[in-house]
Symmetry: C2
Subunit: 153 residues, 2 copies
Amino acid sequence: MTQRQELALGRLLELVVLLNQDMTQSLATIDLTTSRTTVLWELRQRGPTKQNVLAEALKVSPRTMTGLIDGLVATGFVTREPHPKDRRATLVTLTAHGEATAGVMETDQAQFVEILFGGMGEARLTCLFDGLEEILARLRQHGLRLPEPTEAS
Amino acid sequence: MTQRQELALGRLLELVVLLNQDMTQSLATIDLTTSRTTVLWELRQRGPTKQNVLAEALKVSPRTMTGLIDGLVATGFVTREPHPKDRRATLVTLTAHGEATAGVMETDQAQFVEILFGGMGEARLTCLFDGLEEILARLRQHGLRLPEPTEAS
DNA sequence: TATTGTTATACTCTATAACTATA
DNA sequence: TATAGTTATAGAGTATAACAATA
């Protein structure tokens, strides 16, 4: 492990932390959490959706999805509607507020991109992008896992 | 917002998610969480430390630190020792197991670096690093925040 | 019998407020 | 009076298991 590689990992982790913090904070100001926002995002793409489908999309248990929807209903982003063909199921549906919020998030994303990459040279952007791609590929190749923790103690 | 910028943000967020998942999973196999691991890391640098110092280091409330230490005590990574000069305070101290684990994590980090950057060309590594630095600088400049969420609904 | 979503239970991270022991 | 850490309480995300209603 060269020192430059170690530094690069440091920057990467720093970025992970910062991006998480920023997103969490910003979303909190509009009564959202990252998990609930992901649900909103899915609903925007899919339209009214069954809970189990959402649970699979987020790779989360059905029970956890119940909780997320509970929160979104309580804060007025979605409603639970009866499924027209299957009385066991409910269709989670965006409210007007939910739609509006999801729409605004697209604008915000554009502004965020501007902050991160605005005015960054073509060459550097390409290079950064390719680097990220390569890291992602490597991570996926290794089964998306950190090295098996060498047994401690 | 160009399409390439949008793609770059996508990769960045993907990486954030993957790194978080991987770290969480790997740590779970040795009975740790990311928060508790951060405490371990601090203890390794600082030696026996008062809880309030740790709370400030993690930017977390004293109450939250109590919970984190409770967990680390229960799983055998640290002990609470009386502070020699201040009977109000406790000194959180790594056990042998805690020391060993913290040590192993350094090795793991090296392996992880190898996965991410091993054999990556000098030029690309430099470029990636510089790109990350630039993004971090931009984020910091903008007060570590996403754009003020344009009022929804 | 299989599926959908719930209740029941549990663990983690997070916070504020009130309180105890000590400085 | 101020500080260190606790109990009390609360909300959010996560999970498994048991169960009701429906397919």
